[in-house]
Amino acid sequence: MAISPPTGSRTRLTILVVASVTLIILGLRDVPVVRDAREGAARVLDPVTGAVDTVTSPVRNAWHGVTDYEDLKDENQRLKAEVSEAKGNQVAEADATKQLSELSQTLDLPFAATLPKVTARVVSGPRSNFSHAVEIDKGSDDGLAVGMPAATGAGLVGRVTQVTSSSARVELLTDPEFRVGVRLATTGDLGTARGQGRDDPLAVDSSISPRTQVPAGTGVVTSGVDRSAYPPGIPVGTVSKVREGSGGLALELVVDPLVDLDTLSYLTVLQWLPQ
């Protein structure tokens, strides 16, 4: 059973490979024609995907009923416990919120107080095994632009990478291409967090000396240093592990994101662009 392709097949495959590689190079250089093609595809597909989403929702619901049953049961019990606890904390939280609001006004914290925001619904999760982006139902008509950060009440979600008039794509912070300048909330030490893929924590390359103690649970927020792509003070995650970076000259921190990206239904886009 010999497997030998005819010469014509090899020629066609060669042409297709060369064409693909050319497209990859053009795409990596972010040439306008590729960007326009993707935005055009989004404009065409958005209305249709909305309708198909509705039609196929029973299938998806049935699937989640089967595959997520145990998780849902556990989550239900956990949520019940949290609701009880939350009721007890309600009064104290109301007071804390008032104090935070006053502090924000006093210190003029950009994230907490003055940034205009647009809340959007997540209409589609990552579309392939190698995709780390979600689609949202707000676009340039609502004031969104490429580069704006997205967050939830828990913390940073990612940033807007593509916008049409009525929709946008948000790159999640788990994307291997994602980078954000961060600082430790306790000490102010700076570093750069990078995504490592779905279900994996962020890795933070820092300049922190290996002799420094960074306890697990330490909060990490966006640094907002000069020309940063993100405003300062957005919560990113908490340190779960500390290890020596390559070369042993500085620490590398493993950071668990605060936002649960698997259950993202709504997010808020901060109408802020790098200065």
Binding site: V48, T56, W63, G125, P176
Partner: protein, 173 residues
């Protein structure tokens, strides 16, 4: 040989529907954190029924369409689908009068191969896709391909007709 009309139009319809179902429904059906890949099933079926040439062409077209709606490097899916479609076509050439389960086995191997290939080529072009997630993705893609390739072969016959080379028709009739 049965007369057959508008194969290009039929192919476009199949690609568009597969793309729509992939981004709306299949993209929400995760198992162990991984997704199936309906477009890959289409590409493998095209290779199995039409040979390496057709597999590569469908792979390139399907990959290009998928790349338009993804955030990964443009052209990467077109490249990997074309290679996998070509390989499936070569394997299809060797399936003459073999048992019915071989197309499913070839499709499973193609599904797993694509996960490895995509991650490897992605890393080559500078995107650090983690290799740790490849086993789960490979298993899920292999299962999807194995289960869906047989009905997808019939879709391919609807697109291109049952002309020569058509080695699987006898087995699946």
């Amino acid at each position: 040989m049965r007369s057959h009309r508008w194969p290009a139009l039929r192919a476009a319809v199949v690609l568009f529907l597969a793309l729509l179902l992939q981004v709306t429904m299949v993209a929400d059906l995760r198992v162990a954190g991984a997704l199936g890949d309906l477009l890959l099933v289409v590409v493998v079926a095209a290779g199995l029924t039409g040979g390496a040439d057709r597999g590569a062409t469908w792979g390139f077209a399907a990959g290009l369409a998928y790349d338009l709606v993804l955030d990964s490097p443009f052209g990467l899916t077109a490249l990997t689908y074309a290679l996998v479609g070509y390989a499936a076509g070569l394997a299809g050439s060797a399936l003459l009068r073999t048992s019915w389960w071989r197309p499913a086995a070839v499709a499973a191997v193609a599904g797993a191969l694509h996960a490895v290939l995509y991650t490897a080529v992605g890393n080559l072009v500078g995107v650090a896709y983690p290799f740790g997630q490849v086993p789960a993705i490979a298993l899920v893609q292999a299962a999807w391909c194995a289960v869906l390739v047989l009905p997808m072969l019939r879709v391919m016959w609807w697109v291109h007709g049952r002309g020569e080379p058509d080695r699987l028709e006898v087995l699946l009739r």
